[in-house]
């Protein structure tokens, strides 16, 4: 039952000035911030989960033997032994040239020639397990290596990145908290706006009541009005947020950092972002309705 208290010519029971007053802009800002916070949260989530998947099964074996010939020998034997182990999906002995390249940014080239002795850089074996690198999987490898390469150290790659993940998860929680706070702030803003509108239109409401109008009919008028404002403001806010997200995304893509690339939003994330203004509008309308109904209950 949709009883319209306005008519086809657009006359409204409560005077309307679309997209004027602070309400639509407050909603626009809230929606923009929510969408940005949500996008950040989703991107972080994507980055964490794809990075996790990538390195979850990763194990690094370092041969910490200082003498180069023994180091090479132990590394070779370790590789042979790892081949035999179950649950290994791949491995790679990192070549010396790559190791040199890894330390080059800190120590420069030609250390060996300059000091007369090469810096003992550990040999690295990059192992990929079929399953995750659990402590049990690690100790299996350790046990296998102990007799043949006593100086081997076995680490799960995820352990090294744990602080990074933890930080990212915290940021993600922060993003979620921000979204919740913004929803709360939106509710409060709508509540105040609805009360102000009620006060400003008190006479009209009383007349409608005396002509036999119900609370629901009156509430619907306010709900519609705030719904329009919220939908308009939400659209503007979403557009703003998309501009910000796309340009930020381009910047990050320019960095070429692996984690950030992995944080790209997929289509379901975009869909979720697009739903934000819809949810904000719904939230605004429900808040307006409940506020108005609550206030009207005090009138005769």
């Amino acid at each position: 039952m949709v009883r319209r208290l306005f008519n086809a010519r657009g006359a409204e029971l409560i005077p309307q000035a679309r997209m004027s007053g602070p309400m639509p802009w407050v909603i626009a800002i809230m929606v923009a911030m929510t969408v940005i916070a949500l996008a950040a949260g989703l991107a972080l989530g994507n980055a964490v989960s794809s990075a996790k998947a990538e390195i979850e099964g990763g194990v690094t074996i370092q041969i910490l033997e200082p003498r180069a010939d023994m180091r090479a020998e132990q590394a070779r034997r370790a590789v042979d032994s790892i081949k035999m182990l179950p649950g290994i999906s791949g491995f790679r002995l990192v070549p010396q040239a790559e190791l040199d390249a890894l330390i080059e940014p800190w120590l420069g080239t030609g250390i060996g020639t300059a000091t007369g002795s090469a810096i003992p850089v550990p040999a690295l074996i990059d192992v990929r397990l079929k399953g995750p690198a659990t402590p049990k999987a690690l100790s299996t490898i350790e046990t296998a290596l102990k007799p043949i390469a006593p100086s081997a150290r076995v680490d799960a790659q995820s352990n090294w990145l744990k602080p990074v993940f933890d930080a990212m998860v915290s940021l993600q929680l922060l993003a979620i908290a921000l979204v919740a706070l913004l929803a709360l702030a939106l509710t409060a803003a709508v509540l105040l706006a609805a009360r102000t509108a009620l006060g400003a239109n008190r006479d009209t409401i009383e007349i409608v009541h005396l002509l036999g109008g119900t609370d629901t009919q009156v509430a619907r008028v306010f709900q519609r009005s705030i719904g329009y404002d919220a939908a308009g403001g939400g659209t503007v806010g979403l557009a703003l947020a998309l501009v910000v997200i796309l340009s930020l995304g381009r910047r990050f893509a320019g960095l070429g950092a692996g984690l950030v690339d992995n944080g790209a939003l997929n289509w379901s994330d975009w869909l979720l972002l697009a739903v934000v203004p819809v949810l904000a509008t719904l939230l605004a309308m429900i808040t307006a309705r409940l506020t108005v109904l609550h206030a009207l209950r005090k009138m005769l």
Binding site: M1, R3, R4, L5, F6, N7, A8, A11, E12, L13, P15, D203, T204, E206, I207, V208, H209, L210, L211, G212, G213, T214, D215, Q217, R297, L300
Partner: protein, 237 residues
């Protein structure tokens, strides 16, 4: 106490605003369907206050009120609209909605009552035509003269064919010709079964409706010069 045929029954009703003295005291009377009542009394006697009780804008401070067979004191808020839709009101200060056109103001009771848009255009135009405002249909109340506003208010009060019409000084702002015309409109509705209650201090008006019953308020108390409030009501002075 018989409830046969009564439309309104007041039993020992009193009203005070805030903590002031009582504005209305010891009101006990019955209104019967299809009759035409005038409520007279000096300015400040309490006519508007009594009408506010009648159109459910106000709850009394004490006493019992029954309207259309319903206890109007204990009736839940949710059922008030139903009762109010059976009552048409001409407010003393018109109370038109300023940003709505004359048409939309008059259409409001029908829209509130859930009438469809295509069904209400004709009746609204007809009634505005009848009160002589067919050329001001789209005018907003602030651009109308006092008399024109009053006629819009009357059109709004009668458009939904209420069981009871309550009018507070409805001829206060119009010339005698228009006053007579409006009273004729009320009489016409009355003949179709609407109970009419008109508050006025214009004694000339009383004479224009020979069959009317008169209630007089004097400082918040009711006297009954025509025996209007007795049952069966005595018709003549």
């Amino acid at each position: 106490m018989t409830t046969d045929g009564e439309i309104i029954h007041f039993d020992n009703v009193g009203l005070r605003y805030g903590t002031d003295r009582e504005v209305l005291s010891d009101l006990s009377f019955t209104l019967f369907p299809g009759r035409f009542y005038f409520l007279t009394g000096a300015s400040g006697a309490g006519k508007t206050s009594l009408l506010r009780l009648l159109y459910l804008a106000q709850r009394p401070s004490r006493g019992a009120i029954r309207m259309f067979g319903t206890d109007a004191i204990t009736v839940p808020r949710s059922r008030l609209p139903q009762l109010r839709r059976r009552i048409g009101v001409v407010f003393q200060d018109f109370r038109l909605i300023p940003h709505l056109s004359a048409f939309d103001n008059v259409a409001l009771p029908l829209r509130v009552g859930g009438h469809r848009e295509e069904d209400l255009t004709g009746p609204v135009r007809d009634i505005l035509d009848w009160v002589g405002l067919s050329d001001r249909i789209d005018a907003r109340p602030p651009t109308l003269s006092g008399g024109e506003q009053q006629r819009v208010a009357i059109a709004r009060a009668v458009i939904a064919r209420p069981a009871m019409l309550v009018a507070d000084e409805p001829t206060g702002n119009v010339d005698p010709d228009m006053a007579f015309k409006l009273i004729r409109l009320f009489e016409m509705l009355n003949r179709q079964g609407t109970t009419v209650v008109v508050a006025t201090h214009d004694l000339d008006l009383l004479r224009k409706v020979p069959d009317s019953l008169i209630m007089r308020l004097d400082r918040g108390r009711l006297s009954d010069p025509t025996g209007a409030l007795r049952y069966p009501p005595r018709k003549t002075l």
